[in-house]
């Protein structure tokens, strides 16, 4: 397949290479000549190819670019232009629900009910398109700004074309009805979408005397061309009563129209039966035409010719059909009503001139059962990925696309879903919808999600929690860790140590918990009291996450015990913090200093053994320091050490006396 291409406006032809870079939100930027010359396109001006090619260079000029020495303008390119249309958000959201429903639907359902289910899904998608079209139409009507009005009107026609294509695909591929019913479906399709004549019909029918209206016969023709026999006969009966002289002629035509065999929706008649009836009726029409029954009335004669499938007679009414596909269906109706889907191609020819419009090419491809061609042409013609992604997914669920593999990526369904979901992720608000689409891309969905989810800006904790939930549900541990780390860093920057700690506990990020614990301890050393006691006192099992956090919790417990005057418990805990190496060495001096008031208590608290251990801790601490360090230590430090030694010695003396007394007694 050829890669669609477009000339970048403003590219410098003298530059040896054009440099591109992906910016935030899937914005592709490149350097251009804009701004170096005057009169560059202003912000928001449409590129020439806008609305034609998705996924390629459509976009607008952004950036200020005025003044500066290298004021090259940026030409910003968006992957999926339609994602940013406000009114279409309804389409994206509502179809998301249908998409999820389809993925969850039961594949096991047997043939017929499965097909009915898929047809229903297709209809649901279409009704969303129609609802959106209605909203857009209302918006167009109420828009005062002419530019806005035309923008909405364009959207209405795009949505209308999307619905037209989808409906045809539904009839031909999803429902894939048998010959007879297929024709009825196609007639419905034509009636629904060829609306140009509706006004005329309405005008004639609402006039005082329809049969005297100058467009009367046009309306009868419209009904006949669309196979609306009952309505045509009803109109004709009015004309007949006004012309008593030719009442017989009307009666015969009415009879022919009444007798026209109609393919039944049920299985009540076989194809051969239908063919037989048709042949019989055809011959009867032929007879009346040849014996000149309608010779006196050219209108009725031409209707009879249409009934006979006369191509020239049908083509004479070209203006009433407005489109080639109407002509195609009409011709099918009268020349070969039992056509099987595969035979349709035989009848395909065009009445139009010049190169076909994209819509014609797409519909033709559909009539030729070239499903891949339909998808390809739609990808090129529409400015969104929504349509092809959802249609392809539906066709894939109909098991119609299985044989086709791409030479890149996994398969077409997944490729298109990935494109669409990436577009959603580039939107500041619709990203949440994208997650579920990635979930249903078995090959690359996970990787895409991982890469996209990390780029969601987290401006509140609530949003972070939502993103986190998405990651946790999918066991994306790496992303969970990174989100929590971002949030913990933010909290830390804002001096919210408590919040920072809860984020690192959630991520089970031991290193970061250690970092925060150190901040708490530093704060304590500086201020002499703990902040965030409500948190530290309630660490619970999460205390075990990091050694430093354990120390923080235990150290705070020591303070609580001391505050509650439970001195011996406090002393035991304090000693344990050092001997079990829970406390970092840098903190030992603080701990030993904390022991001072306990050593000075009236009552002896540390046992002889405990005192020896304290002494060893002190000696370890001082011995561990190099001479240079010792030299640099100020007097305060050495005084502290001396005070401690003294206190320990005095305590030892007291305890030996006490323990000796106890043993002796």
């Amino acid at each position: 397949a050829a890669v669609p291409s477009q000339v970048v406006p403003g590219a410098d032809p003298s530059a040896r290479q054009l440099c591109f870079a992906w910016g935030p939100a899937e914005v592709l930027v490149c350097e251009t000549l804009f701004g170096r010359r005057g009169g560059s396109p202003s912000r928001g001006e449409r590129g020439p190819g806008r609305g034609v090619l998705p996924g390629v260079l459509t976009g607008c000029v952004a950036g200020t670019g005025e003044g500066g020495p290298s004021s090259s303008r940026l030409f910003v390119v968006r992957k999926d232009q339609d994602i940013y249309i406000q009114t279409l958000r309804k389409l994206f959201n509502e179809s998301h629900g249908i998409f999820i429903g389809l993925q969850r639907s039961e594949e096991e359902l047997a043939g017929k009910s499965r097909k009915a289910q898929l047809v229903q899904v297709s209809k649901n998608y279409r009704s969303v398109i129609r609802a959106c079209m209605e909203d857009m139409h209302q918006a167009a009507i109420s828009a005062r700004d002419p530019a806005l009005h035309s923008q909405y009107s364009t959207q209405v026609s795009i949505l209308s074309a999307m619905e037209l294509i989808w409906n045809l695909c539904e009839i031909l591929f999803v429902e894939a009805a048998a010959a007879g019913p297929l024709l009825l479906r196609l007639l419905d399709w034509v009636r629904l979408h060829v609306c140009d004549v509706d006004n005329m019909v309405r005008e004639v029918l609402s006039s005082e005397n329809p049969s005297k209206h100058e467009l009367f016969w046009n309306v009868v023709d419209v009904f006949v061309l669309q196979g609306r026999m009952d309505e045509a006969r009803h109109l004709l009966s009015k004309e007949a009563s006004a012309n008593p002289t030719s009442v017989n002629m009307y009666k015969i035509l009415d009879d022919l129209m009444k007798k026209m065999p109609v393919p039944s929706l049920g299985n009540t008649q076989t194809l051969t039966e239908m063919e037989l009836k048709w042949q019989h009726w055809h011959e009867e029409c032929q007879r009346y035409l040849q014996d000149g029954t309608f010779a006196s009335n050219s209108h009725m004669e031409s209707i009879c010719k249409i009934l006979l499938g006369d191509e020239d007679a049908i083509l004479e009414k070209k203006e009433l059909m407005t489109t080639w596909y109407h002509f195609l269906v009409t011709r099918l109706l009268y020349s070969h009503p039992t056509v099987k889907p595969m035979e349709l191609r035989m009848d395909l020819f065009l009445g139009g001139e010049g190169s076909p419009e994209p819509l014609d090419t797409i519909l033709m491809a559909a009539f030729e059962f070239e499903m891949h061609q339909v998808i390809k042409e739609c990808s090129v013609a529409l400015s969104n990925w929504w349509f092809v992604a959802h249609l392809t997914d539906l066709l894939d669920h109909c098991k119609l696309l299985q044989s086709h593999n791409l030479y890149f990526g996994s398969n077409m369904r997944e490729f298109l879903l990935l494109e669409y979901a990436s577009g959603l992720f580039s939107h500041h608000s619709l990203w949440q919808l994208g997650v579920d689409y990635f979930d249903h891309c078995p090959e690359y969905g996970r990787v895409y999600l991982e890469l996209h989810i990390e780029r969601i800006p987290l401006n509140t904790e609530q949003k972070a929690l939502k993103v986190l939930r998405i990651c946790e549900q999918r066991q994306m541990h790496e992303q969970v860790r990174s989100i929590c780390k971002i949030m913990a860093m933010k909290a830390l920057r804002n001096n919210r140590l408590g919040s920072a700690l809860s984020w690192s506990i959630r991520a089970k990020d031991a290193a970061f918990a250690t970092l925060i614990s150190d901040r708490f301890l530093k704060d304590y050393c500086e201020r002499g009291c703990f902040s965030d006691l409500d948190l530290i006192d309630n660490l619970g099992p999460s205390m075990l996450l990091s050694d430093r956090l354990t120390f923080l919790g235990k150290y705070r417990e020591f303070h609580r015990l001391y505050g509650e005057k439970r001195f011996s418990e406090a002393a035991k805990l304090l000693l344990m913090l050092m001997t079990a190496h829970i406390a970092p060495c840098s903190f030992w001096m603080t701990l030993l200093t904390d022991a001072l008031p306990l050593l000075e208590q009236k009552e002896v608290i540390f046992s002889a053994e405990q005192t020896y251990e304290l002494m060893r801790c002190l000696e370890d601490l001082t011995a561990g320091k190099s001479d240079t360090e010792k030299f640099q230590d100020d007097d305060v430090e050495s005084m502290k050490v001396e005070m401690l030694r003294l206190a320990l010695a005095r305590n030892l003396a007291r305890v030996i006396v006490k323990e000796g007394t106890l043993e002796g007694s």
Binding site: Q86, T87, R89, K90, N93, E94, H96, G97, I100, G101, H428, S429, Q432, L433, D436, N459, T460, E461, Q462, K463, L465, K466, R469, Q473, N494, N495, R496, L497, G498, S499, S502, S531, D532, L533, D534, L535, N538, G540, P541, S542
Partner: protein
């Protein structure tokens, strides 16, 4: 029944939905609600009408789509929203600002009536950035209490420019929600699973009581108090668990009820029939918890607007309701739980109930109204 639910896609993710309160003597069901959006480039406060019900209950035609009456731009995500009275709405923003909007019913417009810029902030209130999200607001006209990610509690009066009282560093973790316990006392829940009572009369910057979950301290996201029995409090957690607390006793919840599969964003007792409780969650579900003891005693909600008098007229029933939420008898199978959303996809961020009417909003950019909740 689901067919009574009317949906409207509104092209913005809805973070809050609130019914306008009814006048004291009103007999009609509510007909107006407000919504707030989040995560948009351009967030909005909108007022919606669900139309005149006319001959309610006779026609059976409830499919009146909500109509937008007016809206106004809001700076930042709408984090919480409460009606102060019939006309004024207090809105908490992710920027830390608290705004009072007035709904002018004569010409259907909204205007900002009063604003406390950066009521919640990190480090320094005067710097250009540094606002901290205001996560919760509760009103008891004219008093307004707000809490935020900065762990701060503010008490405002609607008619005063400056905060009446501010408790800096009230909580070292994020405060997620607040509600009034009594006129001078408030309840807050935080991100380390604690429920705290604050007495605003006391000058001490400490809570008067702390309750907490045991084990893993799962963050609590929402709180509501039983409208008649003020000691009964319901909270919802990050794990989707519903906790019922009796604040007269103990420091732990009376019962923990397994509920949603993800964050419970809101919990509401039915204001006039509090044996009915409603919860909504990030997992896209909305649950109706029915603890009424006798199914045949179910009251009719059709003709009542304000507080129910019919249901509590019998003392015996009143007694059984007292125990309905506090009983932690595992054999009790009286609690009837219904998920009101069958095909859930994206988060249900907010719900509100008043009389027979329920309104809720989702991340799938839709608002839903059910006007026959108990039909």
């Amino acid at each position: 029944a689901m067919e009574d639910v009317c949906a409207k896609f509104v092209s913005q993710k809805i973070s809050k939905t609130r019914w306008r309160p009814l006048p004291a003597a009103a007999l009609q069901p509510p007909d107006l609600f407000a919504t707030g959006s989040w995560d948009n480039e351009d967030n909005r406060i909108s007022i919606w009408s669900v139309g005149d019900l006319g001959n309610a209950g006779l026609s059976g035609e409830y499919q009146v789509e909500p109509q937008l009456l007016c809206d106004i731009k809001h700076n930042g995500d709408v984090m919480d929203m409460q009606f102060l009275d019939q006309e004024r709405i207090v809105v908490a923003s992710s920027t830390g600002t608290v705004t009072v909007f007035r709904h002018h019913q004569n010409n259907q417009t909204l205007s900002a009536n009063q604003r406390w810029e950066k009521a919640h902030y990190h480090v320094d209130q005067d710097t250009c950035c540094g606002g901290a999200a205001c996560t919760g607001v509760i009103c008891n006209n004219p008093e307004i209490v707000t809490v935020g990610e900065d762990g701060r509690i503010n008490l405002f009066r609607a008619d005063q420019k400056d905060a009446v009282r501010t408790i800096d560093n009230a909580d070292s973790s994020t405060l997620h929600a607040v509600t009034f316990l009594r006129t001078t006392e408030i309840l807050t829940v935080n991100s380390i699973g604690q429920l705290k009572i604050w007495d605003l009369r006391q000058q001490r910057n400490e809570p008067s009581q702390i309750f907490s979950l045991t084990g893993d301290r799962v963050p609590l996201h929402c709180v509501d108090r039983h409208p008649n029995q003020q000691h009964i409090v319901a909270t919802g957690g990050q794990d989707g668990m519903l906790s019922i607390w009796d604040i007269r006793q103990g420091t732990m919840p009376v019962s923990l009820l397994n509920a949603h599969e993800a964050e419970m964003w809101e919990v509401h007792f039915h204001p006039s029939n509090p044996d009915h409780l409603f919860t909504c969650s990030e997992d896209g579900s909305l649950w109706h918890w029915d603890a009424s003891t006798d199914v045949s005693e179910k009251p009719s909600f059709l003709h009542q607007g304000g507080r129910s008098t019919t249901y509590f007229s019998h003392n015996t029933i009143n007694q059984s309701v007292v125990s309905a939420w506090l009983s932690n008898d595992p054999t009790k199978d009286r609690m009837e739980i219904t998920n009101l959303i069958p095909n859930q996809t994206l988060s249900v961020n907010s719900l509100d109930i008043l009389g027979p009417c329920l309104v809720y909003g989702t991340d799938a950019e839709a608002i839903y109204v059910n006007r026959q909740l108990f039909a």
